[in-house]
């Protein structure tokens, strides 16, 4: 039996803040509140990656939230869609090029819907979620991987090394230099 048409009727969302200013996060709450009432589309804010279909990410991905982002993404069972909520989640926005951010989540996980806006208004969020539902319906149950894998941090001489924790996999990834886009050398080159 084909159940895929029921996917769009029961999207449960998982929200993760990867370093946003929490303007968008508040707007998500507002979208759940009586005026906008996301629940009328069957949306449930489940908060549990294993029971979610839509991954709603805000924020430009700070260094410390990288692994968490990838881990949450990997824990979600397919089919799943990812929504990048807010300008800084899409491209880095105002934080682009700051030393501790990764300029948008699509360096780490594949994104299906980009919602711009600083901050994205509840109307935009609803629009984006509805758009994501159409994509969700078409998805297969094939395994979707993050662009870079998460591995355990290694501990040597009491120092924890987390630099390998978000490694690139396969081809089409980034070169090691590009993996640290905000390294001081590179920024100096840009400024010259």
């Amino acid at each position: 039996m084909d159940f895929s048409r029921y996917r769009k009727r029961s999207p449960w969302i998982l929200h993760y803040n990867a370093g946003s200013c929490n303007g968008c996060d508040i707007e998500i709450l507002a979208a759940l509140s009586p005026r906008y009432d996301l629940e009328r589309f069957g949306v449930l804010n489940s908060g549990n990656p294993k029971q979610s279909d839509i991954f709603l990410v805000t924020g430009p991905v700070t260094y410390r939230s990288r692994e968490r982002l990838v881990e949450l993404y990997n824990q979600m069972p397919e089919p799943k869609v990812v929504i990048a909520l807010g300008s800084c989640t899409c491209t880095g926005g105002v934080f682009r090029g700051m030393y501790n951010v990764e300029d948008g989540i699509d360096r780490y996980i594949p994104v299906d819907v980009y919602i711009p806006g600083c901050a994205a208004s509840p109307e935009l969020i609803i629009d984006g979620v509805v758009q994501a539902l159409d994509i969700l319906e078409k998805k297969t149950k094939e395994r979707e991987n993050a662009k870079r894998l998460y591995s355990e941090p290694t501990t040597e001489n009491g120092i924890t090394d987390r630099s390998n924790s978000a490694q690139k996999i396969g081809t089409g990834g980034f070169s090691p230099e590009e993996m640290k886009p905000n390294s001081p050398e590179r920024r100096e080159n840009e400024e010259d």
């Binding site: 260094y63 410390r64 030393y99 501790n100 120092i159 987390r162 630099s163 640290k180 001081p184």
Partner: protein
């Protein structure tokens, strides 16, 4: 805003003499990069209930020196001390690295003065 100069050796005794926890609110610990290798560390206080009565104790610190901890006197200073360690790359007694920065982050981002 009143600025009082102090030194690393005398800062703890100065602050012990100055700080009465029911009169002064400890605002924060601040650092300003003066030039390559030197940072001005500031301990900022304000008086409860008075209009703009801010007192700043400051001391220039070479990057090789260790800033004494004032946590025994002011428990809430622990978090700003850890921030200073991260942002300026100097060492503060009993304060470990890693409040904000990860291993592959830019180390001591505010240490160099661009001017």
């Amino acid at each position: 805003m009143k600025k009082i100069e102090t030194t690393l050796e005398s800062v703890v005794s100065d602050l012990t003499a100055f700080y009465d926890y029911k009169v002064w609110e400890f605002l924060t610990l601040n650092g300003v990069a003066i030039d390559e290798g030197t940072t001005e560390i500031q301990w900022i206080f304000s008086r409860y209930g008075a209009i703009d009565d801010v007192v700043i104790y400051y001391a220039p610190v070479k990057n090789s020196e260790t800033v004494p901890s004032v946590v025994d006197l002011i428990p809430s200073a622990i978090i700003s001390q850890r921030e200073i360690v991260d942002m300026f790359g100097i060492t503060v007694e009993n304060s470990e690295k890693g409040l904000y920065l990860d291993e592959d982050s830019l180390s001591a981002p505010l240490a160099t003065c661009r001017i």
